[in-house]
Structure formats: structure tokens, C-alpha cells
Symmetry: C2
Subunit: 632 residues, 2 copies
């Protein structure tokens, strides 16, 4: 078996209770690496097109990656994927923490879960043993409680859990999967898929350590990270991702009141600095990571907040905060805890609430529609109550639990115009009018509005070491955040592919290993004489597979678009007058397709491009028409 | 100025006598590297489409590369390019030896020569000084003589010369440029372009040493090469490229009698082993190279051969030997000397003679047409006489001096069928029915039949370290030489791009630095945090530029084809029954276009691909129609 891997993929059929193993060849590992690579591979190979994402035919795939469990910061994560019940397209999400590393330690590289159990169960994997266990007593419990019960039952408090809360059990379409209460596989509704299988949790524990081709070089890289993390990622350590908030606000790019504004007058009250100075009690971490960017917050008044649930990061602060017009940090921290205990994606949850608030403000929803809530922007109590309602699918919460796209359809009366989503997934808290490359990334992402398949313009432009890193790829010039020139499209294209690669490695975006050091890490772990070329191509391969999957499900260029709101200029703030130019975006998208070879029917990767990526089989997997096979 | 470079490009107008310098920015160097990168850049930027390749408007560009002059084996070379008088397409050739390193030492990265002198001149560059000098007394002299006169005149026997012989002076369309008498920029007729300018030679001498970002790492790489050359390149050292001959013959892939057969019964008489055991007197070398693969041969009877002209390498042995049905090693050595003293490309010269022999055998040419020569395959005396006739443009030689394509047109009577060329350039001695990937490479090469833009299947397939190297690029499986599957197309595509990169570095193909070590060398020389990705993209960029140049000159997919002969199966030998499959080649070519993004009108790179390569300006340079600009 190749260095770094266990060489074992666990397969579980919850309908039949059957458990078995697969042992792929080294070439499989080298071609797909792990994480999203494995998920998209198996979905293309095994999923029947058109199945119900919440039915038994949708496999739920937990996947570690090439570097998972390697004792270097950023290597503790895991992916989990399936056809998304939110978008009906390719779905996956990643969580940090320790669970991924523990899965590898338990002896597996991935778990593919099919079917549906007739009653609630959880999976227990430990040192190459796997069993399906009764979870009836865990069903309905908040995540902290069910985790405690699992620890108690199995007699080991170090067991790592990936689990759903009530939201997943009730098939909220943006239910997430919680790792150890505070690390979240948030997007695309993987928690609902898990719930649909009557699967409460996957508990893992093990003592394998990944074999390393060159343990000395791995240790050197870990040491380099330790020595440099505080230089390259000091703000991240100090303030967490929340450190971004004030900068975005001052540049006019902080999503505010359902993306109506880019500046929030209450930003200072919900900033990373404010969080640090008031409610922060600890800086949490992930497996082996010296950065420690995870805030843990505590509070007893006016809300009770338990640090076991971590604390709000940037996305949550902006989602439940500025984008709902709320500057009440305590309420946001409480909302974060509610989401984590119910297993709700804070991004989509906040977006659904902001959507409802705008509907309310515009008179699309009445107070009666809102179950008596005064759903105005800024009403933090209403926000907290709506979270409870969504998780329990009560009243308006039941409608919002379907996601803003379906909710708007249900509500009618012009609600669709204020439902901000792409392919059915709500927008993360990154403003496409400011980060225009990211806007393009949203449009072409297989999972719709998803910042995790995307470029963070703000991190990668301007002078300084970031530009130096880009030169490794041949991008020599700095490109402004609001630029959408062909040169910027190339940068987006490269970074999106690199993101895909990172999701195949299952390596953290935030750990400051640049392109070359990442290649060095892969080489040290596996012994493969790899290169940035091979890594980029793994990413591009994965992008092509997720694209092909979506084409098979009927998605096309038509679905690669931004909500209308972003073609409307800001009316205030530093970006006053700035919007996405519709024609420029269309051109940029077409150039992106051309670069990616997504110029087959419906935006499919061409056969030639599939062959260049060594995945000619994908053309068969999507059952392309004969004329397609002639179009190269 | 960037490490490794002088930061100076010399410009000379021979019509006006004006000499000036350009000082490009660092980005220019990092984007195009040198060699073919510079040549294709300037041809696209400055050449008017449709000009006469032998007129004053065709610039002749001598270019060193990124690594030229760096004290590591493989770094002594130079490129020289222009619009080709043989193909009317993009033209360039590379020569080894010392001239390239000396050009850099003289203070220049490249020389762009425009116009036409009214009388013979030569250029003399020394330590950042450039002058145009009278060469009337050198005109018509054999290369050894004119070099001696230059040394004498300038009082320095270490001056390096790049010069033409009578063939270039008389505009033989495949006249070459000779570096120091035995290193040859052979293909595409650059010697004729030089002759058309009345430029006899470029003599260079200097004392600059390239500044290196990390001289220690450069020295380490040079040491690694020295220590490993004899392991990785032992056969090359022992036998030169001639070491390939017997293996090709035994596998049925040795071009014999104008590519009628793949096995030559007299191969043993013209092999590298025979050469070593009989006429070899020294193993010559190039700048800083530990491999020393250049045979130097001497002979007084039955022919006189002077080792100053080097000795025949594989291409020459097969071209003047097996492909003419000749197994007389002494005659071949003499033929090699004639070609080097007249400045004739031995590949095209031998091909022209083989063509004439087949015409004679088939009755297309009579003895009268052949100036009384009995032009049968195997007639070594006729071969030697024909070389003289071609160089002097006498009789049949005058016709053959135009290249086989034009000669066949002139002769008529079915001669076109036996004229083996692609885009007008004669085939090198690599059999497309055996090396099928190379056959595809011939078809798509910007210079027609050219093994220097191409894959050498025999070197890169099968198990062993070569396959390990390919894994660096993500190619995981061995691919048979006769394979032409989409996986093979990818391998060809990658290697062709890598060849382009090597031609931008101006680095020898034969020096065994693999992909990763090459990137390490570039990094050590320049200090750039480069990667195999950046290098491959430099190669792809260059491929796209040469392609775009040809499209501007009216070339299209129609020109990317093989001679009919290769669709006819071998009738004997190990490859009996094997031919190129017409349909498979067409499919492979289309897949290649798809991979390269050559799917614009006439096979132009798409606008999206140009942007991905950071050369959107090329679309303007080729003055693409509006509808093209809409096609991405």
C-alpha cells in the first residue's frame, strides 16, 4: 500500500447491514489523492443519475486525504460528500479538527455509506474494526449530549465523532455534520443526507500512524510551519478568520443586510478584535496545527454560551451578524452555539434568516407569516428564535429549512428576487461586487455559492509574498480585487484548481504552505517524485469530475450565474457605484470555460480534456451522446 | 537585470549598418525564457506576414536561453530562428558546442539581425561591443578555412563562430549554420536566411560570467551530473547518438532506402559500435558537459576525413547511410565532412539524395536527369557527388537544393509520391510507423518533420527510471512505442511542450536532468521560486506562439499530416504489416488539438488558451477576425 495511506476503503450498506472493504491500487490513490477526488470518483462511478438526494440510493462518502493524519498543521481534516439535497448537484463539505486524522488512525482512507437503516444507528470504527450500533437513544439529542453518550457507552473520552443534530435528523436541507461539536462540514446539506440514512454519528478511534516515505522531511516541514506560522498567520492566530471582518468593512465589502450594503455601521461590535477582547476564553486548534485559529468563547449573560461549541468565526459573525443587520456579539455567539448543537450550517442559516428579514421588511412576509416575529434587520432575538424554528422545522422555520430557493418559490410574491443563492445554495459572506474573481468562482463552482471551491481575492492580490507565490504558477502581475480581466480569470482558474487539489489532499486552506512546500509535503509523505504540475492536474481532474457529475444531472452553463442583486451597484460606501458588469462576467465565464475545456455540450469538459487529465472513462460514466464523442 | 541574463538584446540592421540594444524587463525574461521563446515572440511582434523568407524583411534571430553559459552540462547551446525558406512556416534550429555560452559571455542574450548587407559581412561581438566587418574574403570558403581566417584576423583562436558555408551563400533551402565546424543548427534552412543577408558569420568572444542566484546549488547540480552522467548517459558517451542505430534496426524502425524498409542489412557496418571501433579518434564535447557524446573521426583512405569537422551522429549515419541504402562508413564520414564544410543539413541532404535515388530506381529520373550519375540505392560515390552538386547548385543538385517538395514539383512524373516531407521539411531518421507518438509530433510540429520539437518514444517508454520521471507529470502507465491511444497523445502533448520549454531554456535534450532537476536548475540560476508547472507553461506558451505564427502565415489543420508512405504497412522485418492507421492518427491529432486548445479557426489556439498562457496579445498580433475573438 502506498505511503501515507491505509490502502483500505470501508463500505457500509445500512439497508442490509453489510460491511466490507475495498483495497484500491496505488494508481488510484495517485490519480485521485483523497477527499473530493475520491468522492467525485465514486459518485461518477456508482451513483445513478436523477436519484433522490435524500433517498437510500445517495451514498454518503466520508473521505480522508493524502496528507490526513500526517503530523503537520492542516492535516486533521476530512471531506464528506454526496449528491446535495440543497442543490441537487455535486455536494461536499470539509471539516477541520481531529476526526479525519482519527479516521486514518482507525485504519481507513474513506467510508462509503449506502442505503438507509430502518432505525437510528451510528457507526463505530476502531483499529480496522467497524460496527453498526443502535442510536435510538441518541436521536433528537443536541450534539454535545449525544457525543457524551457515545463516549460513555464506548468507554473512551478521546473517541472522535462526526454527527448530526436535530436539523440533520429532520432533513433541513442545509444541515451540517459536526466534528467534535465545533468543527463543521457545513455546506451542501450533508447532514440531511446523513439524517436520511438514519445515521446519527460516525465515531472513530485508532492507533495506526501513517507510514511516511521521509519522516525527517515531514518533521522539517512541521518545524518550518511551527517557526513561521506566527509570522505568516499571526492575524489568523490572534483573531481567527474573524480578523478579516474590519478590513472587509473598511473596503466596503462586508455583506450587510442580505447583501444590500457592503459597510455595516455595527461592524466594530462583532469584529475579531471585539471577540478577542470580550468573550474569547481559549484559542482552539486542529490536529497538529500551530496556528490555532479557532476561537472558543464563553458567556453566561445575556445568553449562555458553552465553549465546547467553539465560537463564531468570520462566516458566522457576518452571516448571523452584519448580513442580518445584527451587531449583538452575544446573540451571535449564542446563535453559533444553537447551530452547532442542532447541526445547522451557519452560513445558509444566517442567509435564510436575512432572506426572511428582507421579505419581512419588504412586506413579502407579514408578522403572521413569521409566526408573530418582528422580523426586522437587527432583531437578534428573532434571529435566535428563527434558528430554533428552522432546526425544529416549525412554522416559517419549516419553510426556511428548505433553503432560500425553495422557500422563495413557496412564498411567492417576489420573494425570489431577494433569495440570494447560486444553484440553490445560499451565499457565503464574500461579496462578488468587491471580490469579482470570487464572484466568477461562485458562478462556476460545482456546489454553487461556495467559498471553499474558490479564490479569496483579498488574500492573494497586491504586492508581498502572495504575489511571489503566484509567480510559481507563472502569474507575474498583481491583479486588483475588483478586476475581472482575462488575466484575473486565469488566476481564478488556477486557484480554483488548487482549491480542488487541497480538497483532494484534504489540507487546510489557511495553513501557510505555498505551492512548492505543498509539493514538498506530498513528496515527503508518499515518496512520489511529484511536482506542482502533478498537483495542479489532480485539482483540475477533480474539477472536471465534479463538473461532469453536474452535467450528468442536467446542469449546464445556464446554471452558472450570479443573483441579480450583484449587477446592481452599491449605493453607498467605498464601493458606491460598483457592481458586477453582466457582460464582463459572461465573457469571463466563457474564457474560464475555454481555459477549463468546459466547451462540450452543456459545458461538459471536452473528451480531449478528459483524456489529458487521464480520465477518459468519465465520458462513458456520463453516457455522453455519440456526437459528443466526436467533439473534442 | 535578472540573474542568469545579461539584460541586453543586440539589434543589427544590415541594410543601414545600424546597431543598437534593447533592455527588456524582468517579466519578459520570465515569460519567454530565451531561445525559441524569444524568437517566436519577436517574429510575432515584428514580422509582416507573407514576406519572402529570403528577403531582407525576414529577421534572423540568434538567441541564448535562460541557462546558457551556466557552468552545467547542456548549457552551451543557442537557437537561431526566422521564417523558414524551406517550409515558409516558423523556423528555428539549435546548435550545441560553445557558441551560445560565448554569446552570453560577450554580453548579449540574443541578436536580432534585419535587412541585407550589400556585400558579404560578418558580425564581431566581444565584451558588449558589436561591429559589422567585411567578409568578402571569406565568401565561398569552406567553413574551416573561413573560421581560421577570422581567428587570424581578430588574433584570437578561442573566438567562437557561427557561420554558413557555400550552401548558405547559394541559398540552398536547407543550408545550416555551423558552430565551430562541428555543431550544427541544421533544420529549417536558417543558413539560407543568413546567406540571403550576405552575412557569413557571427564571431563571439567575451568574459562576462552569468550571475547566479545560488551558485552553490548550481555547482551541486553540475556535480550531480558529473557523478551520474556515466550512469544515466553511458551509451551516449560511449557511442554518441549512433548508439541508437542497432536497437532501432533490430526493432524494425531504422529508416532504410527512403523509408521503404525498417531494417537495413548493412546496419552493422554503420553502427555506433563500428564507428567507435574503427574511425573514432576522440569524444568531443560541448560547454561544461561531462557526457561528451560528440564523435570526432579521422580517416585518410579511401576518403580523407578531418576530425575538426566532428563526425557523423545517428541522424547522419542513417540519413546518408541506411536511408540511402549505403553501408560504407568511410563514405558517410566523408559525406558528413562535406556537409559541414559546405554548411548543409545532413538530414535534409540525405533525404534529398534518398529521394533522388528512389526517383532513379523508379525511372522518374533518368541517368541523364542525374547528370550521368548511376543514382541507385547503395551508391556511395553518387551520394558524395550529389552533396557537392547540391552545395554548388549544379545540375540535379540545383533542383534538390530546393528541398524534396519543390524538387518533386519541378520533376513531376509522380515524384511527389516519393518526396517525404511535412510542411516542406524532409523527415529526420525516425520512423513514424514504429514511433507512432513521434509521427503525431511530426504532424503537429510548427516546423514540419522535426525530431527536435518532438518525443523520442524509444527513450521514454517501458519500465525504468523514465516512467518514474513521467509520474512527475501525472502519467502513471507505460505506453508502448507503437501505441497511439489518447493516453499516448497526452504523453506526446506533454513532452512536446517540455521540448518547447527546453528550447526556451536552450538546454540540451540529452543531458539527463529530469523535470524536477530542471526546475531546480532554473531556480538556482534565477532565484525565481519556479516549478515544473511554470516551466511546462513556458513550453506551452511557446508552442502556442509558434502555432499562431503559422496560422498567420496561412497554415491550418490541413498541413498537419504525414506522407502517404506511412499509411502503407511494412512488408518485412519485425514491424511487417504495421503502418500508421489513418483514422487513428486523425483522431489522435484532433485530441491533441483539443488538449492544446488549438480549436480556433484554422487550428489557432483559442483566445481563452492564449489568455491562460498570459499571451492574449497574440490574438492581436495575428489580427484575428472578429468572430474568432468571440470564439473562446
Amino acid at each position: 500500500m502506498p505511503y501515507g495511506y491505509n490502502g483500505k476503503i470501508l463500505r457500509v450498506n445500512l439497508s442490509s447491514g453489510r460491511i466490507w472493504e475495498e483495497h484500491p491500487e496505488e494508481d488510484f490513490y495517485r490519480r485521485y489523492f483523497g477527499g473530493r477526488g475520491f468522492i467525485s470518483y465514486y459518485l461518477l462511478k456508482e451513483l445513478k443519475p436523477g436519484i433522490d438526494p435524500l433517498g437510500p440510493d445517495n451514498p454518503l462518502i466520508f473521505a480522508a486525504g493524502l496528507v490526513t493524519g500526517v503530523p503537520v498543521g492542516g492535516c486533521g481534516r476530512n471531506s464528506v460528500g454526496a449528491r446535495s439535497p440543497l442543490t441537487s448537484a455535486y455536494g461536499d463539505a470539509e471539516a477541520g479538527g481531529y476526526w479525519g486524522a482519527e479516521l486514518k488512525a482507525a485504519g481507513y482512507d474513506a467510508i462509503i455509506i449506502e442505503g438507509r437503516s430502518s432505525s437510528p444507528v451510528y457507526l463505530w470504527l476502531h483499529d480496522s474494526q467497524a460496527e453498526i450500533r443502535n442510536a435510538s437513544h441518541l436521536w433528537g439529542k443536541p450534539t454535545a449530549r449525544s457525543q457524551a453518550l457515545i463516549h460513555q457507552e464506548l468507554g473512551d473520552p478521546v473517541i472522535r465523532t462526526a454527527q448530526i443534530g436535530s436539523a440533520g435528523e429532520r432533513l433541513v436541507r442545509y444541515a451540517c455534520i459536526m466534528n467534535d461539536l465545533s468543527h463543521v462540514a457545513g455546506r451542501t446539506g450533508m447532514g440531511a443526507v446523513m439524517g436520511s440514512k438514519n445515521l446519527k454519528a460516525v465515531a472513530v478511534r485508532g492507533h495506526h500512524r501513517p507510514s511516511l516515505a521521509d519522516a525527517g522531511r515531514v518533521a522539517d516541514l512541521a518545524r518550518w510551519l511551527r517557526d513561521n506560522a506566527m509570522f505568516n498567520a499571526r492575524q489568523l492566530h490572534e483573531l481567527g478568520t474573524a480578523g478579516l471582518l474590519m478590513g472587509l468593512n473598511s473596503r466596503g465589502g462586508l455583506p450587510t443586510r442580505n447583501f444590500h450594503q457592503g459597510v455595516f455601521e455595527g461592524a466594530g461590535n462583532i469584529s475579531g478584535e471585539r471577540l478577542r477582547d470580550t468573550i474569547l476564553v481559549r484559542r482552539g486548534s486542529c490536529f497538529a496545527c500551530p496556528v490555532r485559529c479557532k476561537p472558543e468563547v464563553a458567556l453566561s449573560h445575556p445568553h449562555s454560551v458553552d465553549p465546547v461549541y467553539g465560537g463564531p468565526e468570520y462566516e458566522t459573525l457576518a452571516s448571523l451578524g452584519s448580513n442580518c443587520g445584527i451587531d449583538d456579539l452575544a446573540a451571535i455567539a449564542r446563535g453559533n452555539q444553537l447551530c452547532n448543537s442542532y447541526g445547522l450550517d451557519t452560513i445558509s442559516t444566517g442567509a435564510a434568516i436575512a432572506f426572511a428579514m428582507e421579505c419581512f421588511e419588504q412586506g413579502i412576509l407579514t408578522q403572521k407569516d413569521a409566526d408573530g416575529l418582528e422580523l426586522r434587520f437587527g432583531n437578534s432575538q428573532a434571529m435566535l428564535e428563527l434558528i430554533e424554528k428552522i432546526a425544529r422545522r416549525q412554522g416559517l422555520g419549516d419553510i426556511l429549512a428548505e433553503g432560500v430557493a425553495r422557500a422563495a418559490q413557496h412564498i411567492g410574491r417576489g420573494a425570489a428576487e431577494v433569495a440570494l443563492h447560486i444553484k440553490g445554495q445560499e451565499l457565503p459572506l464574500h461579496e462578488p461586487r468587491y471580490k469579482q474573481g470570487l464572484g466568477l468562482g461562485y458562478a462556476v463552482s460545482p456546489t454553487g455559492a461556495d467559498h471553499c471551491h474558490n479564490i479569496h481575492d483579498s488574500l492573494y492580490t497586491g504586492p508581498g509574498p502572495q504575489l511571489e507565490d503566484f509567480k510559481t504558477l507563472g502569474i507575474l502581475e498583481p491583479l486588483p480585487t475588483t478586476d475581472l480581466s482575462p488575466a484575473k480569470v486565469r488566476m481564478v482558474y488556477y486557484i480554483v484548481n488548487w482549491r480542488h487539489l487541497q480538497n483532494c489532499l484534504v489540507f487546510c486552506y489557511f495553513v501557510p504552505l505555498n505551492f512548492l512546500r505543498t509539493a514538498e509535503l506530498v513528496q515527503a509523505v508518499t515518496g512520489w517524485n511529484t511536482s506542482v504540475w502533478e498537483l495542479m492536474k489532480v485539482g483540475e481532474r477533480c474539477a472536471a469530475m465534479t463538473r461532469a457529475f453536474n452535467c450528468r444531472e442536467g446542469f449546464s452553463e445556464e446554471d452558472d450565474r450570479l443573483p441579480e442583486r450583484f449587477f446592481t451597484p452599491f449605493t453607498s460606501g467605498p464601493l458606491q457605484g460598483v457592481s458586477v458588469d453582466r457582460e464582463k462576467l459572461r465573457e469571463a465565464r466563457d474564457i474560464y470555460y475555454g481555459m477549463a475545456g468546459w466547451t462540450g455540450p452543456g459545458g461538459m469538459p471536452t473528451l480531449a480534456r478528459l483524456h489529458e487529465l487521464g480520465i477518459g472513462w468519465v465520458a462513458d460514466a456520463v453516457k455522453l451522446k455519440t456526437e459528443y464523442n466526436k467533439t473534442v
